[in-house]
Amino acid sequence: MMKKTKIIDATGFQRAINRLAHEIVEKEKGAENLAVVGIRTRGDFLARRIAAKIEEIERRPIPVGTLDITLYRDDLRGRLDQPQLQSTQILFDITGKTLVLIDDVLFTGRTIRAALNALMDMGRPAEIQLLVLIDRGHRELPIKADFVGKNVPTSMKQTINVLMKELDDEDAVFLSDSDEMELKR
């Protein structure tokens, strides 16, 4: 019954990362003041890969941070399952930095709202840019990505699954029709 389509394969995944890294360098005219912050869990791994790519292009170290947005979620108390709180590790001062905030899928925009609030509580970055691998639409907040791997128009019933080698068997993105699929983490 369930229809599951691979919309990005391993090669496409790598290409998207390479392209996004180049776009950042081009737009920010280098990487001098740049730092990236990934939202747990897959945004974090994306951030590490993109940072590595930028380091390769620009030959300079790029600070990478990991952000857990649990404490800033607006649905923290509505849920029956208490979300697992994890650590935020941003071991550099974000004040004055150009931050690229990275997540795997952009959907309602609520996660990004929470992440922005969390970052604001940690300092005053010069600017924050948003990078997502997939933008699937259906925004509930006025949030727009600056860098997008792939725009995927979806229906509310559909599910996007991003797999990454660090956690899963492969790098891939699936679109499924079933609403029984596990929701985006």
Binding site: T70, L71, G78, Q82, L85, S87, G123
Partner: protein, 306 residues
């Protein structure tokens, strides 16, 4: 991750998993406390009332900080020294809490079981901040957190609690928590201040500090109350200090360094010598810092679960 009980009344009977969950969560809050802005929003819109029927500056401040850093609205109500009879006050207060739709209650009360009583009569989550000689679970948790932080484990850690065990809620919460987590716990104090049948809680009993220091990683020193001397439980503070006071001299006989803990406030040079309290082996100030993180963890886990 969700704790089994919607109240934190004590560590007696709390599972290893729940204790670990609180300690693990506290690690994350300790990181928050190191940020320039030490405030996060998970309890925004929640109202917490701190009911202190017994004076306690540091526990109250620690809870208030933890609550505010989680963005809760906080009211503190202190009735120590009030002339109203205790029973009436607690029951009336409970009813007022119901009426004011408060989400969480932190209670410190001189009667053992006061928080249990409160948890039966209000809908709010109840956190025991010390009930007479019964329990002080957040103190037990912060002591365990501090030890785990230092040693990386609690299993097989040898901890001796020294002092007035009979009247100590800190001792009980430490005994329940530490034995659950696999530590080896002993108690040491004058026979008049060791309660009956305490061995059945799985602890060894000593009456001479000399016998303790040879084989222990940690000494948790309890505050000795002058009232106990007045009620005839020990002859004098001088004698207490001489035989049960933890001093550099007594501790130096150990083959390895012993970590010194104290729940505060310290009677310097009575139960603990000043030089030892301020020494490199003392973790007393870390206990205070960790207290805020541990209380944030407890408040967060109870306050955000449905």
């Amino acid at each position: 991750m969700k704790l089994q009980n919607r109240h934190l009344l004590g560590l007696d009977g709390m599972s290893k998993e729940d204790i670990s969950a609180i300690l693990d969560t506290a690690v994350l809050f300790k990181e928050v406390l190191e940020r320039p802005i030490k405030k996060v929003p998970p309890l925004q819109g929640k109202t917490i009332v701190n009911l202190f029927f017994e004076s306690s500056t540091r526990t109250r401040i620690s809870f208030e900080l933890a609550e505010r850093r989680l963005s809760a609205d906080v009211v503190t109500f202190s009735t120590a020294g009030s002339s109203v009879s205790k029973g009436e006050t607690l029951k009336d207060t409970a009813r007022n809490i119901e009426a004011m739709k408060i989400d969480m209650v932190v209670i410190r009360h001189p009667a053992p079981g006061a928080s249990h009583f409160l948890s039966r009569v209000v809908d709010a989550n109840v956190i025991n901040a010390g009930d007479g000689g019964h329990e002080h679970p957040t103190q037990g948790l912060l002591d365990m957190f501090t030890l785990r932080d230092k040693y990386g484990r609690l299993e097989n850690l040898k901890v001796c609690i020294v002092g007035d065990i009979t009247h100590s809620r800190v001792a009980r919460s430490n005994i329940y928590g530490l034995t659950t987590m696999g530590a080896e716990v002993s108690v040491c104090g004058p026979a008049t201040l060791i309660p009956r049948d305490i061995e059945k809680l799985g602890v060894k009993v000593f009456h001479r500090l000399e016998d303790v220091v040879q084989d222990v990683d940690v000494i948790n020193v309890l505050r000795i109350q002058l009232e106990r001397q007045e009620s005839g439980l020990f002859p004098s503070l001088r004698e207490y200090h001489r035989y049960f006071g933890v001093t550099k001299e007594k501790v130096s006989k150990a083959s390895k360094p012993i970590t010194i803990m104290h729940p505060g406030p310290i009677n310097r040079d009575v139960e603990l010598s000043a030089d030892l309290a301020d020494s490199e082996h003392s973790v007393i100030l870390q206990q205070v810092t960790n207290g805020v993180a541990v209380r944030m963890a407890v408040l967060y886990l109870l306050g955000t679960s449905n």
